[in-house]
Amino acid sequence: MVNFADNTAPDSQAKAGGWWSDVWLGLWTTLVGMRITLKYFFKKPVTVQYPEERMPIPDRYRGIHYLEQEKCIYCFQCARACPVDCITMEAVRHGKELEWISFSVDYNRCMFCELCTYPCPKDCIHEGKEFALVTYDRKELIHDLLTYRGLSDEAKVRLAEAEKEKAAKEAAKAAKAAAAAKPAAAAKPASAPGAGDAAAPPAS
């Protein structure tokens, strides 16, 4: 059995003045409320017409990432900082040059916490102002942040130069080594081809 008086207080009129005061207060507080709603009726709305007008997006907004690919050194700091492991990257190092294969963020998981941007030593991953992520397929939510793949033309030239230099150095080294090894080779001819093989792949 429920005692009705337990929670719904029986004297709900306890603090009220009385019958006439109720009538007056009901009317009066309604009028006061209507005064306020009327005031805003004549004020300019605060909302904006979204697709045409947009609210300003502050500089620090945490939206879809963008990557300054040239700066990135493939250090995995961002991927390590990510609580949900949504950053994956793949690249091939050519000495100092990087040949990018992929740098993707899985927006199925990403929660835009920006923890990935702070540890970056080169300050190259940022969260941008774009926020629209609507797609018809979840696969499309895995964004590739790379603006270009492989190597840039500049990098290729640089890499070619570096390789040329390296090859030249190797050649010089090999020549030196060959010069130094000549006396030894005479003594131990069997070991020379093995040493030559080990040195060959980086040069080729």
Binding site: D22, L31, L38, K43, P45, Q49
Partner: protein, 455 residues
Amino acid sequence: MSASLALSLWLQSARLQQQTGAALGSTTAPDSNWTLDLLEWVRTSWLSTKLAGLAGMDQAPALPTWAAAAIGAGIAVGIVIGFVSVVAMFSIWLERRVAGRIQSRIGPNRVGPFGLLQSLADGVKLLLKEDIIPSGADRKLFVLAPALVMASALAMFAAVPMADGAGFTDINLGVLFIVGISALATIGVIMAGWSSNNKWALYGAMREAAQVVSYEVPLGISLLVPVIVGGTLELGAASRLQSGWGGSCWFLFQNPFVLPAFVLYFIAALAENKRAPFDLPESESELVAGFHTEYSGIRFSFFFLEEYAAMFLMSAVGTALFLGGWNFPGIDLLKGGWLIAAQLAVFVVKSMFLVLLMIWIRWTLPRMRVDQVMVMGYKYLTPLSLICVVGASVWEVWAAVPFHERPIWMQLFTPVLVFGVCAVLGAMLRKQAIESAAQPTTRSRIAPRAHAAAH
């Protein structure tokens, strides 16, 4: 049930035949049956004669009277449905726009100019939606309920006089008719709630039943006050009685007890129409959507339209009995069709003003609890409306003569009182606004910022 539907349709046909005939400015007497004229015109038209000639007849045969009347009723009902729909759709648009502005929003503004066609677009969308009937529902009642609700709104139109001489069916018990028919919607709501096989809907229906039963009492009693002042139950006649003072001698200004009665009527009408703060039957924060939880598509749109049509009708009754009906200062200067058009416009504008007031109140007040609604109906509105009836009667008996023969102070007393009350309330609200804004803030207590120089 079907009898009442048929009754309402017939009544409307009779009314509209007359109304439209007069509104079109025809010279025929208001009681001539224009739909029959129309049918006769079609019968004697060139095409009909040709077709009859093909059949070997001299002239197309006249329709039997019952068939002609039925076709006439059909046309009239079509017009009524059109008018009700337009009014309801406009009210919906008004509600949404006003709510938007009150809440610092814009409201619908995409479809048509100022979003006026939004309701139409919504209607089309609702029409195209899948018609869902819950598996456990009582199908017959479930289907019938929205129709019944809509029928009550349409039927109420039969007794609302919107312009003088435009030939309305001035039912001489118009007030009774309206009070009676307005309760018909309740049956539809209860049917909807019961047949939905949903506990929330059932709650909504039960609340509606209790609420309407309670508020019929103060509604009827407060409607008695203008009836006492005017001495008639006929809405058209009541409106005609308020045409003095160049169209500003409204019942509101004829007897000091009409103003409180009007306020009471308005509150009771809010409750009858399930409008906030009495929107318990569909209180969405408690009962999900109340009695129409399970309704969707076109059936839901019927409930929706009915709510706004009923709002307009209740406002129309309030206009006719309290606010002078079609009378407005200066309207007498017009003649003929212009007069009728102006009267229609005045009547609709006055009613829409009351609708606006209902909307304004809805977006201001919280909802009452079900027992509080009962308490308000029985303990507050009913005694107050009884006081009004007694007071109005005493005033009328004391005055003893028709309004225009009373002493001048007695004639002027009520208008002065009404405007005085409005002025005092306005002044008090202004004072309250100033006092509220003058409350201290924490700004003054804390020293200004020290870091300002840093930036």
